[in-house]
Amino acid sequence: MYKILEAEMLADKIYRMVVEAPYVARSCQPGEFLIVKMDERGERIPLTICDFDREKGTVDIIFQVVGASTFRMAELQAGDAFEDVVGPLGNPSDFIKEPLEEVKKKHYCFIAGGVGAAPIYPQVKWFHQQGIECDVILGTRTHDTLIMEKQLEAVATNLYVCTDDGSYKAHGNVCVVLEDLVKNQGKHYDVVVAIGPMIMMKFVCQLTKDLNIPTIVSMNPIMVDGTGMCGACRVQVGDQIKFACVDGPEFDGHLIDWALAMKRMNTYKSEEGRAMLKVQEGATHHGGCGNCGGDK
């Protein structure tokens, strides 16, 4: 069992937990992810590692409630435990593997959308620890769904926060901010790292293609084992099929087939929806949807 030491709600449907997971904490790097399974019946859910403490053997995870399993997970409290936590999975970010001197020469701009702030944070923190400057754009729908602002502020050279509805800081999405920085504020970036909802990453990539800035994205497709066995997480990258779990999760965003990636996320949508209803409706769930046959 993997004990939950802290659990809090950061924003609507967004939760943070600190979990004992010594094997993950001892070796994880920015860019990698882990898989949790809450109990016997639970799904294996891939999550990004938001932070880690090697000495305490703990990792911080942040997740959003999107389906039945994350809905159940959100109810866990400090003192509860996950039945399974495995990782780290995937590959570290490219800059970890590059010679430090090379990384220092480049100007990085990290773009986080919504819960994407969680996986962006350890990357920006790594830059901070190496003494390398980098900018961060943090975008979200509205002020109430903003997370990680303070943490990112502490490690980013410049942090630009924006909300789609203008309820807090800059009005507009991350693309508006990036375009303004590059076109009007005289900023020059050699690399953009964008992590967030698929649709955000797609539009960032369209923009950076025009701006001619190489862009890395982190894919979070449907996965089962996460170790290179099932092939559920296949992503079209250029003319190749890649498995996000062992080849990624980070890829060249300009080569991703976004339309395909987004459609593949829908594979289990109706099944997910029914499972979600079943959890929410509990004992009163009798198959009123006419599809699932209730408890049968």
């Binding site: 094997y23 399993s69 990782g87 780290p88 170790t227 092939g231 459609k263």
Partner: protein
């Protein structure tokens, strides 16, 4: 029941119509009476060919002799000398090409039903809590085993019997490997059989740590240099599923057999657990191996009409005869000498059908099998809403890419000596699918035994 020397005692099975709708075990196995009668058919050859046909060389006439006399505990101990997983092997070994394929009785009639007898003995000994093997006197040496599948469990069991302190590291959340995620419940019950056999290995003192992914959570070099292990056996299994590379393969509703089976078997999607699985109306399974049969029969049980599309003819089907026979009985439709050329999608990228071309057999190819050749103009379309690709796997790079000095071949399989499992890296041994590419449970067990022998020799002189 009277004995018919030419024929096997028939084994009782669930009615095909009934079992096509449930996940209960298909075959009931022999009871005591049936086992004794079947055992009597064995003529106890002086030079038993069956033993040569067994990858782990079980003393087959030896255990059958005990069954004849009703000494099932002794029979279990005879098997236990050679095999750590007899209840599993009795169910999933391709006996027709191994022990039973060599049986003298098979020349004039049917061979002895060795697999069913092995299964009977193993099940009997589980029911009676027989301890078939004891752990050895501790020798103070530590061995790490990567992967709790058939190769790793066998290697760990053999080393524990020799007195080693063995820890198995398993990447998934439960031990068993392919026995758990790959082979379905109706062929190999998980609680009743797999969990019990693993318990036997644990009772030999073997520790199993799940959720540890070697190469990521900790590397082989760290195990050897920092964690105090004297040797490592790598039995990490097969890897990434292969796809055909035809148009439409990324449509929603195209799965690898590994994904489909893992959702169903390991994640228990069939049991109303949280992990979803697609319950399609009409499924095409591409491939003709045991995994294809498992996927087809699973899709059938989840309510689909199932077609197996295979490019060669029935004689070339790589699956065990019994699996093909069972699949047919249950209603799986075999579209043989046919090959998909394209997967068709609807406007939302969901699978709506498949283009298939008919084939004929030409000259034998490198594998000795006659090469299938397309018949021009024979293409047709079939409606379906899911496709399961069962085309084999290619090795997982996680271990080879993170272990210095561990050599791999052009297929990216770990290079290891067959007799000992010895790799290019000192103290590291390997076996099973990680070395051979996708094969069978029993061949992985054979490699696990070889690895244990190799490690024992290495550490005895070290």
């Amino acid at each position: 029941m009277a004995m018919d020397v030419l024929h096997k005692v028939p084994v009782r099975e669930q009615d095909p119509k009934v079992r096509a709708t449930n996940f209960e075990e298909v075959c009931y196995g022999y009871n005591e009476e049936e086992a004794k009668i079947e055992a009597e058919r064995c003529i106890d050859c002086k030079k038993p060919l069956c033993v040569q046909g067994c990858p782990v060389n079980i003393d087959i006439p030896g255990f059958i002799r005990q069954v004849k006399q009703g000494n099932y505990e002794e029979a279990a101990k005879v098997i236990g000398l050679s095999s750590a997983l007899p209840a599993i092997c009795g169910r999933v070994c391709p006996q027709e090409t191994q022990c039973e394929g060599r049986c003298i009785r098979g020349i004039k009639g049917e061979p002895i039903s060795i697999g069913k007898l092995e299964r009977f003995v193993a099940d009997w000994s589980h029911e009676h809590n027989i301890v078939a093997a004891e752990k050895g006197e501790p020798n103070g040496k530590k061995v790490a085993v990567v992967g709790a599948g058939p190769a790793g469990l066998t290697c760990a069991g053999d080393l524990a019997k020799l007195g080693y302190d063995v820890t198995i590291f398993e990447a998934l959340h439960q031990p068993g490997g392919v026995l758990l995620y790959g082979i379905p419940e109706f062929r190999l019950p998980k609680e009743k059989i797999v969990a019990k056999e693993i318990e036997v290995v644990k009772n030999l003192g073997v520790k199993i740590e799940c959720n540890v992914i070697i190469g990521k959570s900790i590397t082989i070099d760290e195990l050897l240099n920092e964690e105090g292990f004297d040797a490592v056996f790598v039995g990490s299994g097969a890897g990434l599923p292969k796809f055909m590379g035809i148009p439409g393969e990324n449509a929603n509703g195209v799965f690898s057999a590994n994904e489909f089976l893992t959702r169903n078997n390991l994640m228990k999607a069939f049991k109303d657990y949280d992990t979803p699985i697609m319950r399609a109306k009409k499924v095409v399974v591409v491939g003709g191996g045991n995994v294809a049969m498992d996927a087809a029969r699973t899709a059938l049980r989840l309510g689909a009409e199932v077609h197996v599309v295979y490019r060669r003819s029935e004689a070339e089907l790589p699956a065990r005869v019994e699996e093909v026979h069972h699949a047919k009985e249950e209603g799986v439709i075999f579209d043989l000498l046919q090959n998909p050329t394209e997967i068709l999608m609807d406007e939302n990228d969901n699978v709506r059908g498949m283009k298939i071309v008919k084939m004929e057999l030409g000259e034998p190819d490198a594998s000795g099998r006659r090469k299938p050749v397309e018949i021009p103009g024979s293409e047709y379309e079939i409606d379906c809403d899911a496709v399961i690709m069962s085309l084999g796997t290619s090795p997982n790079p996680l271990i080879s890419s993170t272990t210095k000095g561990l050599e791999i071949n052009s297929h990216k399989c770990i290079i290891a000596e067959e007799e000992t499992g010895k790799t290019s890296k000192e103290g590291v041994y390997a076996g099973g699918d990680a070395v051979t590419g996708a094969a069978t449970v029993i061949l992985a067990m054979e490699a696990g035994k070889a690895g244990a022998k190799g490690i024992h020799e290495y550490l005895s002189n070290h």
